[in-house]
């Protein structure tokens, strides 16, 4: 991961925060004055370094953790805007990354019933009775990050 990759990554995250969605390689290229091919090469490097995740077999962004490019069951609101998290860890990580209070609307993985958590001043103020579960051991998280 070189300096160009880090610039591309900063731009991706900045656009994710600003737009509430993943930017395209063309949008990143336009902002940084780079050719689309240069941005795509950088996306691949960042994917290989686990600094973001591309959709399998494509050059499209799937995750810039904790943000999800696709709609997921984990919707997060902070400061009047919303994003999707990739999982429970990422959903709670969005208020953390933004250093803001937030609300997570998700579902029970077992029964699918909606559930909600409020994070205020860094603590779970609503939904503290809920549980989270990580099935995959840490050393295998990146074997299949989508499953993890």
């Amino acid at each position: 991961m070189d300096e160009l990759d880090l610039r591309v990554r900063r731009c991706v995250y900045g656009r994710f925060v600003a737009l509430g969605r993943a930017p395209t390689a063309a949008e990143v290229g336009a902002e940084l004055g780079l050719a689309v091919g240069e941005v795509e090469d950088s996306f691949r490097s960042l994917h290989d370094a686990h600094a973001l995740v591309l959709r399998a077999g494509t050059i499209e962004l799937l995750m810039a953790n904790p943000f999800a490019a696709a709609e997921t069951p984990h919707r997060v609101e902070c400061e009047g805007r919303s994003w999707f998290g990739n999982c429970c860890w990422d959903a709670l990580g969005i208020p953390g990354a933004l250093h803001a209070d937030g609300r997570v609307e998700s579902e029970c993985a077992c029964c699918g019933e909606p559930l909600a958590l409020e994070v205020r001043e860094g603590r779970v103020a609503e939904g503290a009775e809920l549980l989270t579960h990580i099935l995959v051991p840490a050393r295998r998280w990146w074997d299949d990050i989508v499953f993890t």
Partner: protein, 69 residues
Amino acid sequence: MVFLRSEEHLERWLAGREPGATLTAEDMNRLARRWWWTRLDQDWVPRSAEEGQAILGELGLTGDFWALR
């Protein structure tokens, strides 16, 4: 990495699979905040496995399940 309503729902969801790690919502929140806190920093650089392991350790997440490699 999923949310579950209760221990009963966790057991049902596991459906006989070997359990991984269960954290309360507050413990997951502490982990998530610590893990992602610097993600949007302008001077962000990749975290080493040792640094990641240290964060997990600070939060009491130790043992083979939490070993990053």
